[in-house]
Symmetry: C2
């Protein structure tokens, strides 16, 4: 495992029994990431309230008090998980400035399902749990949902101006409909994965919005 030392390209260090600061740091970072990944998965499977810190810690092979060394409270762990998830989503939607990508936008969101089912599971279940106003992630998802709808609405408005939208399609309503369809379909998929093809359903919805000029 520590074979990276075997090259000995650097000046030899003191061979004490204590690990070097660099090693300890790297190990800490790895633990940090391991906890995050495990938390992401378990929060997705059992929800935030349904997951105990002891469960996450056990899967990482540490005591739960050790986990609290990396994340001082359970809520801080949740926020870290949401921030990581959000950062990835943000970078995805960042390069959607060009209107050419609108058709591709929903398709990309749709196919994310296959890319990282764990992320989808987390997002959907946490959002559902966060409908409780007392839930620590309530404000996060409230703001996030509004932002998503607003972004897609803006894209659809531009598309409408260029004549890409079918008659009678209201940008805001269509945007709300897209995310409602996505979240509802994912809920159904979580209940019974074999019962529904989420990407296919979303692509079908998307096609019903645009005029038939995709080559």
């Amino acid at each position: 495992m520590a074979n990276t030392q075997s090259t000995k390209q650097e000046a030899p260090r003191r061979q004490t029994s204590a690990r070097t600061p660099a090693t300890r740091y790297a190990k800490g970072v790895a633990r940090h990431g391991e906890i995050l990944e495990t938390a992401k998965r378990l929060f997705g499977e059992h929800g935030f309230r349904g997951t105990a810190l002891r469960d996450i810690a056990a899967e990482c092979g540490i005591a739960h008090s050790t986990l609290l060394h990396y994340f001082p409270t359970k809520q801080s762990l949740l926020m870290a998980v949401l921030a990581e998830r959000d950062e990835r989503a943000r970078s995805e939607s960042e390069h959607l400035e060009r209107l050419d990508d609108i058709l591709d936008f929903t398709r990309r969101i749709a196919t994310t399902q296959g890319t990282d089912p764990g992320m989808i599971e987390l997002t959907t279940k946490m959002m559902a749990e966060a409908t409780d106003p007392a839930h620590p992630a309530h404000d996060f998802y409230k703001a996030r949902s509004a932002q998503l709808v607003d972004n897609l609405t803006r894209l659809l408005e531009h598309a409408k101006q260029r004549g890409f939208l079918r008659e009678g399609v209201d940008p805001r309503r269509a945007s709300q409909g897209f995310f409602a369809l996505r979240d509802g379909a994912q809920l159904q998929w979580l209940l019974d994965p074999a019962s529904i093809d989420v990407p296919e359903l979303l692509v079908w919805y998307q096609r019903s919005l645009f005029t038939e000029d995709d080559s």
Copy 2:
């Protein structure tokens, strides 16, 4: 409270300090219903796992052990809540045999939102919580969702044979889409009631499925 005795139409009973069996029975039934209503509301607000029996009992003015006299386990209380909710929904969809009602079907489902928001809140939140396979209501919602989709699919197939559906509308996909849209919209509505008009969104979706021959 016990004024039903004042009519004295029956033979006079012994006037002991103990209440009559009839009175006790009526009181028990009332308690039973009171607990059910309170549980429905609190499960809707905080979910099943997020609601303690002590909270429900406290709102009914009894000890939590007294609640367990009426419902021996927490899960049995949940099942009673779901059964009552399901019975009402079943009687609603019972008289949908006639195909004339299809257009009205989704509209009825849509406007239920305004009729009993508590019921909607309960259904949506419990369904979301039940995506956890370990949740006691998992099988219930899995079966229930499939049944709803199947029922609407059948109605849409009949409508399609009669030429009521737009071209390219697949009954099954449209049915899945309807319930996905409903559940996702209700999720959004729970997060922020002011952000979305669920009935309006569902009626709009419904119109996109049928040909324009509604008077």
